[in-house]
Structures are given as structure tokens and as C-alpha cells.
Symmetry: C2
Subunit: 302 residues, 2 copies
Amino acid sequence: MNNMLVVGSLAFDSIKTPAGFKKKCLGGSANYFSLVASRYASVKTIGVVGSDYEDAHIEILATRGVDVSGIERQDGLTFHWEGRYKEDLNEAQTLATHLNVFEKFNPQLSAAHKSCDVLFLANIDPKLQLSVLEQANNPKVVAVDTMNFWIETKYDDLKKVLKKANILFVNQTEALMITRESNAVGAASVLSQFGPQVVVIKRGEYGALLYSKGEYFALPAFPVKNIVDPTGAGDSFAAGFMGHIIKRGLDLNPQDLRRACLEGAMIASFTVEDFGLNRLINLTEGEVSVRFEQYMNTIRIE
Amino acid sequence: MNNMLVVGSLAFDSIKTPAGFKKKCLGGSANYFSLVASRYASVKTIGVVGSDYEDAHIEILATRGVDVSGIERQDGLTFHWEGRYKEDLNEAQTLATHLNVFEKFNPQLSAAHKSCDVLFLANIDPKLQLSVLEQANNPKVVAVDTMNFWIETKYDDLKKVLKKANILFVNQTEALMITRESNAVGAASVLSQFGPQVVVIKRGEYGALLYSKGEYFALPAFPVKNIVDPTGAGDSFAAGFMGHIIKRGLDLNPQDLRRACLEGAMIASFTVEDFGLNRLINLTEGEVSVRFEQYMNTIRIE
């Protein structure tokens, strides 16, 4: 089966939400993505951590079969994000970003990394995303995530990345920001003209809008009763999405893309139920089956 | 077949959106609702207009079979709302409200009005909603819409209305405001405890969340490419919803409630494509059939 390489952040997150405050819980886009993606496929992770990042933290991925040989450890502290969510849980407010060892992160791909079938470039500096793209040996599918900070500061590099991407994951606010369109429907088709044949606009509690080859697919989110912490929902969504795609042989046909959205949204509905990676770490196959059925019941029209 | 009575506003709206500015276009909740509902059922409309409201304006409803005998004309000017929508078209900003003849509106139901099967109390002063409820002879289904202004100023009256309602339509922002819940999922079930067995949370471009008897249904909106003016989308949604319900014999079973949401969202997707009532006035059955099929294709998962 096709394997997947993910490049992104491994971090500590200090998060304040209406449900409470957690200091330095395990996070980072590559952590969320790898933890979820390992449920579906063979995953290799590239990232950097500091001396405060314990072996036990890396073991969380390793025990799930993730190839962690690309996680380098450097002197200094691990990337630390501090943020909060107000009543409207849809948007994070960054209080502080301590890049620490991440500041000099320069991802180096081994021969095994370079031969990945699927490359997921999580939300990091587009310059690093480009560097990874250049090192990889022609992966079959390249998927990309990004955020407002890079749109504002590295727009030209980001456009170069998009040109080489097959699939783009982006929040609705950020999709509008990049395209200057006034609604998600217009933004999705404009983003597709930048390169990616598949554009997935993430809409938080509202779900997702998928655009590919002139067709739209709209999916509502699973109605989560108790949202504790939205952090990582987007990366979890992308991982579930890519997991489904890889299991289906990377065909990117309309029905598999729709099912991939469903899988992503289903798994992300767990992520938000606890702080950090907590809910994902303890998540059983049984819970996933039950949730999947509940989800289908929630959106079914007969 | 069961017939429907709607009480609400007939108005002129001056609307500014990113697509342009229209002065004094025909609007008001009872206008939107009646125009749409007349596609599905026998409708009687109660409201008040001023001397500036032309016979031709009333004819728009009358030629579609709406019983307009309950539209009284008074000396003075018709209710006039001025509002604008910024880039984020989800929320209207009121610039001015000229109540005019609406200020002394005191709906009086004739014998025919009183014997309605379905009563739709559009977004007006809860005191007026209560007065209409008291005059009506035990309608089989009572549906209610409301807005932030009444939540802030007439909360106790609003709660009395909700106690007698079977179906509540409310925007997500307003649902959170009434219940002080942090998300729509919690808000829907709390609102149901206030009285209505069916709660429909309207989410604008994102669709709707339905709650009834412990079960949720989530529906994404049809992806409209060119949103011109969101005014009236909520009333159109409610009218399509109630239209479906009435055609199905007012059974309120889960599948009909879901189909009712779909119908409401489908018809509302037209409303936003032009200013005021314009798109609805010219809407053909052929366009509706095509849109319905496109919509089903947009949300289908195989």
C-alpha cells in the first residue's frame, strides 16, 4: 500500500477555551496528523523537537507504527504555541508563538522519505514546504495546509507551493483572504486555478466544502455536544481525509473525495472533545464505528 | 388540504450589500413567507401597509392565490428597514428602522383567519405574536421566528410564545443569545425545553441544524455562487419548510422534517440571488426542479 510522509510541527500548546486551560499539552500539526493518519496507512513523520520533548512523547507515534526517524532532536526548547478560543470556538487567537528549535528547522529527507507516495505538507513556512517538495521524488499526491500568517507574510512562496499541490486544505476565513472572494464557493474555484485539483474549505463546526473539477460537495459537521478544544481539528480532518484516499488507491474520484471528507470530519469530531491529543490517543475502533453510524444518521435524507 | 395563516411585516427595505445598493425594494417577513408558501399551500396573510404601498404590491401575493383580506392599509408610511451586509454576508447590520404604520399594528383575525390549520408567527413583537395566538382557534401547528431585538427587549413575552410553539426557527447567533449556550448543538436542545418540539437553527450560508425529540439533523446549504442579498433568506427557508410539512399532512415525522429543511434551504438559495423579492417573483417550477437536483447532487454520499 501507498505510504505517506508528513512534514509539520511537533509542539507544546498552552490552550485556553471556555472549557478550561491546559498548559503545554502535546500538539503540533504533524502530531495530530500522524496520530490520526496512522489509523489508515504507513506514515513517516518529519519534524524537530527540543530537549524538553520526552522520549515518551515520541513513543506515542512510534507505538502506532509511525516511522519517527525523521524527528530530529535539537538543543533548546520545543515549539510552544499559546492561544485561546472565546465563546465562538471557530477561530483561535494566538497569544504567543515561541518558535524555539522550530526557528532553524530545515527538513532533510532521507532516501526512504524521498520515495514517499503521498506527501502532506502541514501548516509551516511555505519556504520549508517548497524545500520538502524539491527533495521528494515525484510523489503521486501532494496535499497542503496553510494559514493566515503565511498568506500575509509569504504569499509568493505559498503560490509556488499551491502550483505543485494536488489537494489543498484551508479554513474558510483563510480561503477568502487568499482569493479576496466574498464567499467560499467563489474562493474554492479560484484556489483551484492556483494549482490544486482538489480544494477543501474547512468550516469548523459547520463542516466542509469540497471543490474539484467544477463540482462542489457540501458536508455538515457532526454535531458535537461538548466542544472542549478545537485545536488540531483541521489537521485531524486532513489526516482522516488522506487516510481514506490512500486506502482507496489515490484515485481522487468524486465519490471517494466525498467519503474522504466524511472520514475527516468524523475523526475531527473526536479531536475537539478533549484538550490536545488526549481524545485521539484513547480513541478505540469501537468508538469510531459508533460515531460513524451516528454521523450518517445525522445527515441522512430518505 | 390544511391552510396556513402568516402574521408578519410588509415592508420596504433599503439594502446595501457588496453587490450594490437598492432603495425601498419590496420586503418584510410576511411578504417573503407568503410568496414562497403560496407555492405549496393555501395562504392567508395578515399585516399592515401605509398609503405608499401600491395595490400592485399587494397584487404580487393576490395573483398567486394568497388571501390578502388581512392586509390592512393605514394612513402614513409603510414600515421601512435600512440595512447593510458587509463582506461576511451572514449578518445584517441595521442602519435605521422606521416602524411607521407598523408601530400601531394590532393584528385582528377574522373568523376565517382564526380557523387556520397552521399558524406562522414571523419575526414581530412577541406581544403581537401572543395576541395572534390567543385569537386563533387551536391551530394544529404553530411555528415561530424571532430575532435578537426581541430577545433583548421582550424576553419574557418571547418565552410565553415559545411555550405555545411547535416549531421554532432561529438564527444560530440568536439561539446562542437566548440560551447562553456556547454552541448550536446545546442551544437547540435547550430551546426545545422552552416549548417547541422542533427547533431549526438557521446557519445562513452554512445551512441548518434541526433538533427534534433528542435527534439532530445537519444540512449544508446549497453553494450559491453569487450571493446578492441575504435579506429574506430565513423567511423563505421557513416558508419552504412549512410548505413541505403542510403538503405531508403536518405529521412532523423525522424524515419529513429533514425533507422540509431541504425544501427550505433549496428555496432560500434562490432568494439570495437578487435583491428583495425579485428572484422569487420570477422563479419558475423548472428552475426549482433543476436546483433541487443540483442540491441533491451537491450533498450526496454514495
